[in-house]
């Protein structure tokens, strides 16, 4: 635009006999431009808003420089309800960060528009601190969702607890209508959860707080007692108690939809408490459709208290080695199982265990096997029993041990036949 105008001016400056001709051409061009400009300027704000919602932030920023109308649209509250702050330091992350000026501008102009906010923080303590600084400035806003996400190491844990807590409680106190809170791997503690409950108990529906070591079973129980709308909860096994399950299945409480439990041993040989079957039964009675997701990161010898009684688990992940014996018990005690992932097991084949799981776990639709062994025949039998309800079947090639009936080259045909779709084992490069 600019260069075009300049060019025309220069031509005019050196005006000759053909100057008028040029001028008229120029006028015509300007008229066309005006027409276009008028056309675009007249876009109603709601249409602009609609378009802007589909544009990435950068493009909206460019567009905002076109005219006042577009600039105005750029700042419409609707476009600032949701924001993800990315806080990375060049020394610790490969990804770029949200620019500090942009952060300032958001806090200045759009803080009260923010509703759905997340912070993605890299492994450096500075980034976690920056997140807390922003949090403590969000005094005028009413957040509905807040997520604190460590993308590499749990850097919030490196902050002084008091610093973190005071920033977080700013949001708790001011928001009053938080419905979703994700604070995994943070130093949140019981008193701050009390503040959360005191201000947001009517609205809280989702709480994810896996690996928050400063929370006690009593702290989470307080949340469950007060927040009757809570439908999703993620926590570590040491916070799980019979009382908690009973509280979640009280009449006042809505149906729980999703409970995620991480079972991690803090020190080798740790003894884990058990949950009564009656508590689980109460949960299932109250919320018949709830999902129980359990991630196990235990040594083989720590599984003692688990899978002794019926367990309403739906998604089961064994992140470390799990014994043949425990997998055998899974088949006996987990009738609601939907997904099973086994990362590793000993050297003995899991044939009977898998077949038992196929028999007993009639909901099973996804299975992943890593460092295990299964004979090809048993695996085919397993697939045959489950049939096409197996929508996810991820088996490392090394898992399948050829036997007299099937070799590795023909097993995929056999399995594909029973699944009703083309299937291959997962492979790793031989390199």
């Amino acid at each position: 635009m600019k260069r075009g105008l300049q060019g025309t001016k220069q031509e005019d400056g050196g005006g000759t006999s053909s100057g008028s001709l040029k001028r008229s051409r120029k006028q015509r061009r300007d008229a066309e431009l005006d027409e276009e400009a008028v056309h675009w300027e007249c876009l109603p704000q709601e249409v602009l808003l609609h378009i802007f919602q589909y544009l990435p932030l950068l493009d909206r920023a460019y567009a905002s420089q076109v005219c006042r109308g577009w600039n105005h649209a750029f700042h419409m509250p609707e476009l600032w309800r949701c924001f993800e702050f990315e806080l990375n330091q060049p020394a610790s992350s490969y990804l770029k960060a949200t620019h500090p000026d942009l952060i300032k501008q958001i806090i200045k102009r759009h803080a009260d528009h923010l509703q759905y906010v997340s912070f993605k923080v890299d492994s450096s303590r500075e980034s976690a601190e920056a997140a807390c600084d922003i949090l403590s400035q969000l005094v005028n806003c009413s957040l509905k969702t807040l997520g604190l996400i460590s993308t590499a190491r749990p850097s919030f844990m490196e902050l002084p607890k008091s610093h973190f807590i005071s920033a977080l409680t700013v949001v708790f106190v001011n928001s009053k209508s938080l419905s979703s809170l994700k604070i995994d791997d943070t130093p949140v503690d019981d008193p701050s959860l009390k503040v959360l409950v005191a201000n947001n108990s009517d609205t809280l529906k989702l709480l994810k707080m896996s690996s928050c070591p400063h929370v006690s079973p009593a702290g989470i129980l307080c949340v469950a007692d007060q927040c009757h709308g809570l439908r999703e909860l993620a926590l570590n096994y040491h916070l799980l108690s019979d009382e908690l399950l009973i509280a979640l299945s009280s009449e006042k409480h809505v149906h729980l939809e999703h409970l995620r439990i991480d079972v991690v041993s803090e020190n080798p040989g740790q003894q884990f408490h058990t949950i009564k079957k009656s508590s689980w039964d109460a949960m299932v009675r109250h919320s018949p459709k709830f999902n129980l997701v359990m991630y196990f990161f235990l040594y083989e010898d720590e599984f003692g208290p688990f899978f002794r009684d019926e367990l309403p688990v739906t998604h089961l992940y064994f992140g470390r080695s799990v014994s043949k014996d425990v997998l055998g018990r899974v088949g006996l005690t987990c009738p609601r199982l939907v997904e099973l992932v086994v990362c590793a097991n000993g050297l003995r084949p899991l044939d009977e265990e898998l077949i038992r799981i196929a028999q007993r776990c009639t909901q099973l639709s996804a299975i992943g096997l890593g460092e295990c062994e299964v004979s090809c025949s048993a695996f085919v039998e397993f697939v045959k029993m489950c049939g096409d309800r197996l929508t996810q079947l991820s088996i490392m090639e090394e898992v399948l041990v050829p036997d007299h009936r099937y070799g590795l080259d023909d097993i995929h045909w056999e399995v594909s036949k029973h699944l009703g779709r083309v299937w291959f084992p997962d492979m790793m490069p031989t390199w």
């Binding site: 979703s180 995994d184 989702l206």
Partner: protein
């Protein structure tokens, strides 16, 4: 007319099955065999002594074989682009032959040399012999994009005609016809350098475990084929637990340096199979390792950024940690996990480790434990690993770190359990970490768990004589599986509970790829980003929430570009006078004076050509601005990346649709009630443009009911 040939050895350090060398000899009056110490390979500090030694031995073997044919190898020091003009004149060259190099760096170098040769009137003949197949043909058969799953690759390969038969070794008769006089000072000018000359200290250097050279390679090949056990396991090389040690029948370094022709290996395997099984055609699995190599070469050949995450269209953008200390511990074998440390020691000392060992250390460094970028690991392998091909090395690292190729990420190798499974006795540990040699089997993979008395009895106290484990594996794998899930769920728009469903299944092997009409609508000139955005909307209207969310990593490449632009470093920004984009701002300010412009959003000076092409897209902002001329590099990259990126997107989408999930216009359908089963949001964290609490409540319902 006199024909003076020069054959330029790079890889393909052999006389057998060397089609380009045959071309050099064909009707020539003189032939000189040249090796140029390529500074990209040579000068780089990134190549370790074992790799150098292997190369020099291979050159010596080549020289030795040529001597037997009354010829010699000419090792010319310098850069090819500087050396050749001199050689063209000095030797009155009329013909230059070399093996086709399919890697992007090599292609660029070679095209410059070919151009230069043309100017000097020198004919160039290039022949393909480092790979079994013509890689461009594979790409063409996959609708002009490299196959991204190994299965798809195998399907395409099975449709191809067999690889070209290997050629015999050059012989005395051929060589006599083009005998070239060797000057007396040959050894002074063209000798093979020593390790010392290259600046390595060789005192105390243990003898090479892997001896370089074609003779050794052919010797190993016959042992490889003779190995009875191996033949018995022809179909499924399982139970190779003992082969953690360097095997006298291992071939991979020889394939890397071209001391052994991959086609010779291919046809030997094939013939052996047919002899033993009396079946007419062997299964593809017989050629496993050769095909993997081919697969990664195909994926890399048109992708100059194949060895990095940034700007690499096939690589998922994962927020890896930067942690130099942890990286050094890993690279130097000081992690405190004997299994990892033994492998890294073997790698450093011998230059080769078993592929299961590679999986173990790669997983440990990246997605399993340390959460450090695969690029760092790749560089360490590049330095130490004899068989580290650029393509295969980068490709394998991406594969093992689940950064590409649609890998399930649930399976993390345990740095204790996997070792114990692979080598139950722990002999492997005792050999490479002698300080642990007196540990009982029970504790050798986890010495920190041994009682103090056992540690003392073994003369190795953990924390004193051997490091404590640098990381708690249970804890780190818990964290990392969450991180991977987060990345992949955003990528695939999956929000259910199923871990396995987070990785999109791509159906490229099941259904033929369709040509995308939209691909033709935007020509190679259109800026890459616009092009991609168009794809985002056009190709999959059912998931246009993509467009509303700048955080959605549906297309990881696009995401990274945006992030790069949205997040310039403060240093750059403060200096707005310097920006190319600042010009745009000020230009626009003329027309919208008084309007506050969000200057902090204006992009930074771009680092990569791709980013540059985005920065230079003012048409979006002020359509009357003359289009900035994009640098030529950006143009070529744009045109070659566009379709491929698109196909990645398309595949992800297809996988998504295939699972029967619907995405909808979050905004367009505002206020409409959505079915419980519907999945709308791209990622858990991106509650985008939700207009009402009601919507949010429904979202929560979806989130919880997903996975059913």
């Amino acid at each position: 007319m006199v024909v003076n040939s020069v054959h330029w050895f790079r890889k393909c350090l052999r006389l057998h099955d060397n089609p380009a060398l045959q071309e050099a000899l064909n009707g020539a009056n003189t032939v000189r065999c040249v090796y140029i110490l390529d500074p990209w390979f040579a000068g780089a500090a990134n190549v370790g002594i074992n790799r150098w030694r292997f190369l020099l031995e291979a050159l010596e073997d080549l020289d030795c074989s040529l001597k037997k044919l009354n010829s010699r190898l000419f090792v010319v020091r310098g850069q090819p682009a500087e050396v050749f003009p001199r050689l063209f004149k000095e030797w009155k060259m009329t013909r230059l032959t070399f093996e086709y190099d399919p890697e992007p760096y090599g292609k660029e170098r070679d095209s410059a040399i070919i151009k230069m040769a043309q100017e000097f009137g020198v004919e160039t003949i290039v022949r393909n012999s480092h790979t079994l197949y013509n890689l461009d043909r594979i790409i063409e058969m996959n609708n002009n994009s490299p196959p991204l799953t190994f299965k798809r690759f195998q399907t395409i390969v099975s449709r191809l005609e067999l690889p070209r038969r290997p050629l015999p070794s050059i012989n005395q008769k051929q060589m006599d016809k083009c005998h070239t006089k060797i000057t007396d000072n040959h050894d002074q000018i063209y000798s093979i350098p020593s390790l010392e000359e290259l600046g390595f200290r060789t005192e105390g250097l243990p003898p090479a475990v892997w001896r370089g050279g074609e003779s050794e390679a052919l010797d190993r090949l016959s042992k490889h084929l003779d190995k009875k056990v191996w033949v018995a396991n022809l179909e499924h090389p399982r139970g190779n637990m003992c082969s953690l040690y360097a095997s006298p029948t291992g071939l991979s370094p020889y394939l890397r340096f071209g001391c052994l022709s991959c086609r010779v290996l291919y046809y030997n395997l094939r013939e052996l199979y047919m002899k033993l099984r009396k079946r007419c055609s062997p299964p593809l699995s017989l050629f496993g390792q050769l095909l993997w190599r081919e697969f990664f070469y195909t994926a890399a050949t048109n992708n100059p950024n194949f060895d990095r995450m940034d700007g690499n269209p096939i690589c998922v953008q994962i927020p890896w940690d930067q942690n130099p200390e942890a990286l050094a511990k890993w690279a130097e074998g000081r992690t405190g996990y004997p299994w990892i440390d033994a492998i890294m020691t073997q790698l450093r000392e011998e230059g080769w480790i078993h592929h299961l060992a590679r999986h173990a250390v790669a997983c440990f460094l990246t997605r399993g434990d340390l959460w450090i970028s695969w690029e760092s690991g790749m560089k360490v392998f590049e330095e130490l690993l004899l068989d580290a091909d650029w393509s295969v090395n980068a490709g394998s690292w991406m594969w093992l770190s689940c950064s590409a190729f649609f890998q399930q990420f649930f399976h993390c190798y345990c740095p204790v359990g996997f070792g114990r499974r692979t080598n139950p006795t722990g002999d492997y540990i005792r050999r490479y970490i002698p300080i642990l040699k007196d540990y009982p089997n029970r504790y050798i993979y986890e010495p920190w768990n041994a009682p103090e008395s056992v540690q003392k009895a073994a003369n190795c106290v953990v924390g004193v004589d051997y490091p404590k484990p640098m990381i708690n594996h249970a804890e780190s794998s818990r964290l990392n599986i969450e991180r991977m899930k987060q990345v992949y769920q955003q990528l695939s728009h999956y929000r259910g509970l199923s871990l396995l469903a987070s990785v999109p299944t791509i159906q490229e092997e099941a259904e033929p790829l369709m040509t995308d009409e939209s691909q033709t609508s935007s020509g190679p000139d259109s800026p890459s980003v616009v092009h991609d955005k168009a794809t985002g909307c056009v190709a999959a209207p059912d998931s246009s929430t993509v467009c509303t969310s700048s955080h959605t990593v549906l297309n990881p490449e696009l995401e990274s570009d945006e992030m790069r632009c949205l997040s310039q470093t403060p240093v750059n920004c403060s200096d707005s006078q310097m920006h190319p984009s600042a010009t745009i701002t000020s230009t626009c300010a003329d027309h919208s004076a008084g309007v506050e412009s969000p200057s902090s959003l204006v992009p930074p000076p771009a680092q990569s050509p791709l980013a540059r092409s985005q920065t230079c897209t003012p048409s979006l902002v002020c359509s009357t601005l003359p289009p900035s001329p994009s640098p030529a590099t950006a143009q070529t990259q744009t045109s070659s990346f566009g379709p491929r990126r698109k196909s990645f997107t398309r595949k992800v989408r297809r996988g998504q649709r295939q699972r029967g999930r619907h995405s909808c216009h979050a905004v367009a359908r505002e206020g409409e009630r959505r079915g419980e089963e519907e999945e709308t949001e791209p990622g858990e964290e991106n509650e985008k443009m939700e207009e009402s609490v009601e919507m949010e409540e429904e979202r929560m319902e979806e989130e919880t009911y997903a996975g059913h």
